[in-house]
């Protein structure tokens, strides 16, 4: 039985890996599960284990070689197996062909593409498909992974054509029983808080966990804090609302949304979305507002807020909050945001430092407006102050730019007529 050792995919965005060190020499016996190599990915060094036992017959990629995901790096086989097809490609990795599986024919024979002289083999079409997020996963494996909160991208499939099957999930589950949340009994009578024990993560909590962890892992945050004098803004708002019908009343948050949209127009560097390779300059200012729900939160966007008046923003925000709580948001409102505002002022929180929502570049955390002593023209006076904190992605912008952006938000809010000009 010939077993090809291939460059594994550790995470959906991994496309290649580097052989750091071989732990086995050619000719040594190897057992299933034994560590045979160390590889380096973009994010970590990982040990590769043998999926089959036998003799470690042939190394096809030398230490230091960069091999695409799915490329064959070694061959494990019985002593008598004919591996001459691999010998020709010694030290040059061989692309694994995507062998279509014919259900009623004899088992697919081992066939390999002609070895290339280049160190990097042609990308494996299978791996490419996986890199696009189309993992081969059986339905039951997908369901169990979903129930147990297992990230399928971290698994390597042991089924036909590398499909992730039920046993792969069960193996993962047993190795991390301590950490893995188990499904809560649906008919449990006592509330969890009284009963104790482990609980399943809801879909929303899983999504929040995934997105926030991604953000903190991939986006180096920097933070800028400033006091905004809201005295004029409060007076402006009182004056405006005195003449407006209830459904058009303007909130402090609406003014902040408008101020941020205008500031984003002046500083488009903060209206950028990022993926691992590229930044995309967004042209519309889609400003998200974080809305607390029973089991988490959601941050839908006021679309094209930069082109909308304060009155329009006020009306749309009310509608957005109502629909978020009713679960009736539109897809674009959930996915198209370019900047976010998170506001815990209503809870009396002084300073809120937010986590950037990927793939956005920045988020503004807003605290409460409180009457405080402030120095003005050498006098101590009572003013309505509000602390805001900008969290921004250092990959996209630098602190000095952030300071200018934040100063623009402050300027607009302290001279609120600018919001309606």
């Amino acid at each position: 039985m010939i077993s090809e050792v291939v460059m594994p995919q550790m995470g959906a965005d991994m496309t290649e890996g580097t052989i750091v060190r071989w732990r086995k020499q050619e000719g040594e016996p190897v057992e299933r599960g034994e560590i045979i190599a160390e590889i380096e990915t973009d994010k970590a060094n990982v040990e590769i284990e043998a999926f089959e036992g036998g003799v470690f017959r042939k190394i096809l990629a030398h230490e230091g070689a960069v091999i695409p995901v799915g490329g064959i790096i070694a061959v494990i086989a019985a002593p008598g197996d004919d591996i001459s097809t691999y010998e020709a490609g010694a030290s040059a990795p061989v692309a694994r062909p995507a062998a279509p599986r014919a259900a009623t024919s004899s088992p697919p024979s081992i066939s390999v593409a002609a070895p290339t002289a280049a160190v990097v083999a042609a990308p494996d079409p299978d791996a490419a498909a996986a890199a696009n997020g189309r993992l081969r996963v059986s339905p039951v494996a997908r369901r169990l992974a979903d129930e147990r909160g297992i990230d399928l991208r971290q698994l390597r499939g042991s089924g036909p054509d590398g499909r992730i099957v039920k046993r792969d999930i069960e193996r993962t589950a047993t190795t991390r029983t301590a950490a893995a949340p188990t499904a809560a009994a649906p008919d449990a009578v006592a509330p969890a808080a009284e009963r104790g024990g482990t609980l399943a993560m809801s879909k929303m909590r899983q999504a929040i966990a995934r997105r926030m962890a991604t953000s903190k892992r991939e986006a180096p945050h920097y933070y800028l804090l400033v006091d905004v004098d809201m005295t004029a803004a409060l007076a402006f708002r009182a004056q405006a609302n005195a003449t407006l019908p209830d459904d058009a009343r303007v909130s402090i948050n609406d003014m902040i949304v408008r101020a941020c949209a205008l500031a984003l127009r002046a500083h488009p560097a903060f209206n950028v979305t990022a993926d691992s390779e590229t930044f995309t300059q967004q042209t519309r200012q889609n400003v998200c507002i974080a809305i607390a729900l029973d089991d988490g939160l959601i941050a839908p966007a006021v679309l094209d807020a930069g082109a909308k008046t304060l009155a329009q923003i006020a009306r749309e925000t009310k509608d957005l909050v109502a629909r978020a709580k009713g679960g009736a948001l539109r897809a674009e409102e959930i996915t198209a945001g370019t900047f976010s505002i998170t506001n815990l002022g209503a809870y009396g929180i002084e300073t809120l430092i937010g986590i950037i929502q990927p793939p956005q570049t920045a988020i503004l955390g807003v605290g409460s407006v409180t009457a405080q002593p402030a120095a003005r023209d050498g006098q101590i006076v009572v003013r309505d102050l509000m602390k805001v904190a900008l969290s921004a992605d250092h990959r996209v912008t630098d602190g000095a730019l952030g300071a200018q952006f934040l100063a623009e938000i402050k300027r607009l809010l302290e001279a609120p007529l600018l919001l309606v000009l």
Partner: protein
Amino acid sequence: MAEITYREALRQTLRYQLQNDERVFLMGEDIGAYGGSYAVTKGFLEEFGERRVKDTPIAESVVVGAGIGAAMAGLRPMVELMTINFSLLAIDQIVNNASKLFYMSNGQINVPLVIRMAGGAGSQLGAQHSHSLESWYAHVPGLKVVVPATPYDAKGLLMTAFEDDNPVIFIEHTALYTQKGEVPDETYSIPFGQAEVAREGDDVTLIAYSGSVRQASGAADQLAAEGIACDVLNLRTLRPLDTAAILTSVRKTNRAIVIEDDWEFGGFGGEIAAIIQEHAFDDLDGPVLRCSGADVPMPYAGALEQAALPQEADIMQLVRSIV
């Protein structure tokens, strides 16, 4: 309890019916003087006389039509069409009359008719006499389709066929008449729509009926030696179909293979695969596969005929590919 053949098991039920129900009579080509092509009715003419055991001309449409008329008039006929290949000459009577009259008469007229025929291949009878057309009949609402795999099934299912007030297509397998198995001496009925779990295992579900139960069980025995445990389902009836048994097993094993002598394209295995993916999609750990007859007219040459039929080795190979 005695060990008897599939043929003898059928004879026991037929004799019981002739002895105990005056309305029952048998009709078919060569079932009387000759004793039946597969000797199922041998000696019945002498025992029960010409009024109860009738030889007919070679005119299948007439035979079934007469049976339908007799059933409408209150008798409980059983007609034998010799083989499923000849049933094609009677298919208009079966599909347009037998299966429809209850509906067309708004429930006023029942057709309690048992139509027996032998199906399947493996006896070198050539392309025209080796069909497995059970899926054609299973396609039609208003028909019940019975496919016994063992002597025990044959005796009990035929009893239920006679008890049923609707037309029953009772398909025996030519390769099974001499198969032996334990059968109770007393009479008994096996309800339609209840599959038998012929083997128990957790790794893969093999769904079979009629002749293919034997291959599935044989493959399961050999796979057990490799550490692969198969659940083997013997469907017993295609209409009604024991969907619950299929889904229960698939939910346990997460994998399924349907084994049928019939052609794969447009066959009954496809129906089972569709039912599984509709109702147990999230329980599947791999694709539902089919091990079917080759997509060719059945070859006459013995070696080619065997190659065209699903064999234990084919089943084992498919099992290994998904376990």
